[in-house]
Amino acid sequence: MALSGMLWPRTVDEATALLAEDPDARPLAGGATLVAMMNARVLEPHALVNLGRIDELRGIVREPDGGLRIGAYTRHRETAASALLTGTGAVVRHAAGQIANATVRNMGTIGGSISFADPGLDYPPAIVAADAEVEIASVAGRRRIPAREFFVDWYTTALVPGELVTAVVLPRPESGGAAYVKHARVSGDYATASAAVCVAAGGALRAAIGACGPTPLADAEVDALLSRDRSDAAVTNAAARLVALADPLDDVRGSSEYRRLLIPRLLLRAVRRAEATTAEAHA
């Protein structure tokens, strides 16, 4: 049945029941993406499922296994300031603090951001590097998928109609360091390219490149190589592999060739910055 107007569920179950009832109803969180699309007349929904009164979706909590659950409605400002996001988990905090500007960070949420899946967004490479999972709810129940599988294509996620992102869940942060290095034309713009790196104190490294293909660019061999050897030569070799795997657009933010040139530079900077934060943490 077609729903109409602004709907205010109080629980995730109520929200998913509404989304199941009307596949054209759209979930609304901070509005930073959806309302901009409505203003541009890309979308003109007749029903919005407002997630703003669902307590479960708000805030960052530690799970029993030490993992960190970032509720889908958690605003960027809160994530950027969270004292829980330490060590390897700090990559998500660093990315949150570089999204758009302070005013938009007061509004936008992690669930809304990743559901948009614009390749130039800051969270996608960060949550891939953090080895996070995305929790998804529907009337059929909940499922968790790796962040890498959540991002499917340009502006396309693994969500199917009736589903809702309820949380991004990070594995228990390891002591170590992390960095998110973003190159943008001006402060607050989408990334022309970005690099997210987590290094555990034991040496294990995970990297992901943003805005250089339909989904965050990550590669198990690159991670394995950089976990063993982080010399300049090793980073150069790893970056060459990522450049070969990249599929960047030519657009107003930069040519595909320019983006390929950025990958080694941003990766090196992110690796060194992550190592430096590791050193600080252990000083």
Partner: protein
């Protein structure tokens, strides 16, 4: 220019705007900005990009600067909306207005209301911001006239003025 859209479901709302309950009718796709400007004739907040980029529509919602153009009117029930018109009792705002005038921190003035709302929020949490803090707090507010230097100078001058004994 009116961005009002009438095809989507209309509701009658009670909004808290500048401390007063106001009753308005708004379509589902009507933004708070359109309601403020076109229904309530509160025209300080400006419609620039309507995409959340330029900051000209910045208002305070629940005490924090937010984009009126990215807020739907129907989503604002139960929230405290304060526009520039409703912030005039705050000494920080008065100090900012005087400093903007004294330092010629505007030319066309289109961005000024958004700048003032964002700068007021900055001074509320940081009474003595340095240049970098001012620039960070206002990085979501575009000015196409001034080159920003005078705006930064004015915000810091306002902070100093607020610390002087009255």
């Amino acid at each position: 220019m009116s961005a009002a859209v009438t095809e989507t479901p209309i509701a009658t709302l009670t909004l808290d705007v500048n401390g007063e309950p106001v009753s308005v009718r708004a379509a589902l796709s009507t933004t708070l900005l359109t309601t403020l400007r076109d229904e309530l004739h509160l025209t300080a907040a400006k419609r620039g990009c309507n995409q959340g980029v330029c900051g000209a529509c910045t208002v305070s919602i629940d005490g924090e600067p937010m984009r009126a153009c990215l807020s739907l009117a129907q989503g604002c029930e139960g929230r405290e909306v304060r526009t520039l018109e409703g912030l005039g009792d705050d000494p920080r705002l008065v100090a900012l207005q005087r400093a903007f005038a004294a330092h010629a921190a505007f030319q066309c003035g289109f961005c000024t209301p958004g700048m003032l709302v964002a700068a007021r929020a900055l001074l509320e949490r940081d009474a003595d911001p340095d240049d970098a803090a001012v620039r960070a707090a206002l990085s979501g507010n575009l000015c196409r006239c001034t080159g920003y230097a005078r705006i930064v100078t004015a915000v810091r001058a306002a902070a100093r003025a607020l610390k002087e004994p009255a």
